[in-house]
Symmetry: C2
Subunit: 435 residues, 2 copies
């Protein structure tokens, strides 16, 4: 063997060091536990599906970005989200599921995007969805922010805002102004408000839209104040459109129930400028921001859709859900020093042998493991200094040293790695000393 | 939308119902916790790698079975095991790792095998490996069975046997008999002993091998009794070969330390007929059998290898590890009624609304969630019978019913689904009643 292949990881594919992986897994577990607290059932659909299944709806970007290939005679593809596999699943196993069907799925998805720093081609999505059979109560739309709230609290965040809007309000407004066809362009312009300011937005709108209609739009996006206030101002707009009024009523319900579901006032707000794309969501929409790091963009988004399964069945399946893009979020949090994996550890104790006899090592490690501790041993021929360097890297709390002297006297040296304190204890005493 | 695509899952791809998925996840978590107890660090390498990285060593079956495709100008492939990605990882991040490097990885791998019942093309492997830098103490080979023992105990099994052998013993024996080149064929014949019996094995061997050599081989595979006995008999064979004697010494050490690492005598035994393929393992080899279900084959296998990373670096990296093929194991256990997912559940409580008012539902659910319970709500317009049918399917322990009467009197009806007992309690009392 002389010709070696250079080991490397593909660009856009996350590969973490062990301490980072420990932290990543902790976050993943936290999200999972939070989802389970709300009764979402786990699913784990295949990463590979028939290409026609995954591309039933696709077009545009998806079609370009999807990983497609042949194996034998089959056209296969890698899932690019967890929603399409859910639509497939719900249709396929319809008779075996209980509706409303609540499921979570945490798994990798694949998109051949242009490689950019912090953008991944393989990344984790952590999704929940509630799927109704024919109908789905609006109260579910109010429970979802409670899941977001609980999840980010459990992840260790306090200062975040869940922003809520209802697409029907925007759609109804445009219909009432007879601006349906221009709505995409108008939304794009409105979206720039943070960057260019209200006056420039107005100026841009006036190019294509009559001035009295621009006035209404500006009045709409200028609606401010607390949630109650915003709802009152929306009522005062007196938009004569059923869809608008329906959206407003839904927003009223959602805002009311969010509180009952335990989300504090300071963690959610109505944001009438949120639209989240144009053709998918049909009612409530969500975005979530870490207030001190608003530049990260939304860290958890989603919304209500009318029909999940239209490409597979005539049955109508409305749903509401959210997704956390964990790989990207993890990268952003680490990159901004909001989280730090340096001190993460799996093992509580490292047992180091410095003698030619290993029975005591095995005995001590086994004893501690039986007490529920995570224990690693190092019985390799290495100098003590090197073994301690390893202990530092592993971030263990305790090191147990067993050398010739210890073996002779049937004791061990126990070092607390935080305090540096070292003491000699008998095997019987170890568990108590460590616990 | 009229033309619908038939939802389906590719053959060879496992897709579970929610209650099965709950059980599958429990088993996966149990394995993970057991691996962590022994200080193994988590890794999560990409599923897609450059084809040349994954195929560095491959040939034969792997080359045929691997999922390969192009994206842009890149030749990509899906990992077919977790060992090759580990070899890549250890070489790539060598400077940042602590040796001996202990890692676990639990993830999906891909092999385009012929589809058969219970054989998967996408399946979970749960691997641990200990990688040495240049050298690796034989004591590690004795710790691995302790991980197997702990893992299967935690999975709920008692009656299983970890079978251990050392490839050097077989290799040394064949060298001493000048039968190196015939060894593959001889091993294949020996392998049939369970099926065709010792006499037929002898008959077959005599076709190609001289009778005195056959006598020695038969004497070898007839070695029986307890572990101590077997080692004595191996000594008594007086094989004049260094490799044989080295293997015997390793086996002696492993057998001695396995006990100290807490594995009871009844759960492991030396089995001199285990070889585990021909070109990969170089020392200790393991197979694990559920004694009542020996027909399932080995449920956890592995061994010692001389050099993990030879295709990527000149550095020598010996290792020892095992793998549990969880997808196949799960299928087998379910198929043989050894496990049953019927009663698996995520939610402790289902809150059912039978009124037009949902505030109490949201309030009660939130209260119970804050107490650490998993709670699902059903506020859809469905009949009570349908909602209870759903509760049965979800296997919840308690159902809380909130109808018009309950809302009026500010109480709830609490039904214990096991006993069928139903009582009226105030909101304040619920937590205590359930806990």
């Amino acid at each position: 063997m002389s010709e070696k292949i250079k080991p490397r990881t593909l660009p856009g594919f996350m590969e973490l060091l062990p301490n980072e992986q420990i932290l990543f897994n902790k976050m993943k577990d936290t999200i999972q536990k939070s989802y389970e607290k709300y009764g979402f059932l786990p699913l784990n659909t295949p990463i590979i599906e028939s290409a026609d299944i995954l591309l039933a709806k696709a077009g545009g970007e998806t079609e370009k970005q999807i990983y497609k290939f042949q194996k034998g005679d089959n056209d296969l593809a890698l899932r690019f989200d967890l929603t399409v596999p859910l639509a497939k699943y719900v249709t396929q196993y319809y008779d075996k599921l209980t509706f409303p069907f609540k499921r979570y799925q945490i798994g990798k998805v694949y998109r051949g995007e242009k490689a950019q720093r912090g953008r991944y081609r393989e990344f984790y999505q952590c999704d929940i969805d509630i799927i109704g059979n024919g109908k789905l109560s609006i109260i579910n739309d109010a429970e979802i922010p409670s899941v977001i709230y609980n999840t980010f609290k459990e992840l260790g965040f306090d200062d975040f805002t869940i922003c809520i809007n209802n697409r029907k309000i925007l759609n109804g407004l445009f219909i009432s102004l007879n601006l349906e066809e221009e709505s995409a362009g108008i939304l794009r312009t409105i979206d720039k408000i943070d960057k260019i300011g209200i006056d420039k937005v107005k100026e841009e709108l006036l190019r294509d839209v009559e001035s009295d209609k621009v006035e209404t739009i500006i009045k709409f996006i200028m609606i401010d104040g607390d949630n109650e206030n915003k709802i009152k101002d929306l009522e005062n707009l007196e938009v004569d459109n059923e869809i608008f009024q329906q959206g407003l009523e839904e927003l009223r319900q959602v805002t009311k129930y969010i509180k009952i579901f335990g989300v504090p006032e300071e963690n959610f707000k109505i944001d009438l400028t949120i639209a989240r794309g144009l053709d998918y969501y049909t009612g409530t929409v969500y975005e979530t921001f870490l207030n001190k790091y608003r530049n990260l963009g939304s860290v958890c988004s989603g919304g209500r859709y009318d029909n999940l399964t239209e490409y597979y069945t005539d049955r109508k399946m409305p749903g509401v859900g959210i997704s956390i893009g964990l790989s990207r979020l993890f990268f952003q949090l680490e990159d901004n020093n909001i989280i730090n994996a340096e001190n993460e550890s799996i093992s509580d104790v490292l047992v180091i042998s410095m003698a030619d006899e290993y029975e005591m090592c095995a005995e001590v490690a086994t004893k501690l493991r039986n007490e529920g501790l995570n224990v690693q041993i190092n019985i390799e021929e290495q100098k003590l200094g090197k073994k301690f360097k390893g202990a530092d890297k592993l971030n263990v709390k305790y090191v147990i040293i067993i050398g010739e002297e210890e073996v002779k006297n049937k004791v061990v040296s126990l070092k607390n790695m935080k305090t540096g304190e070292q003491q000699t204890v008998t095997i019987e005493e170890i568990v108590d000393k460590i616990k």
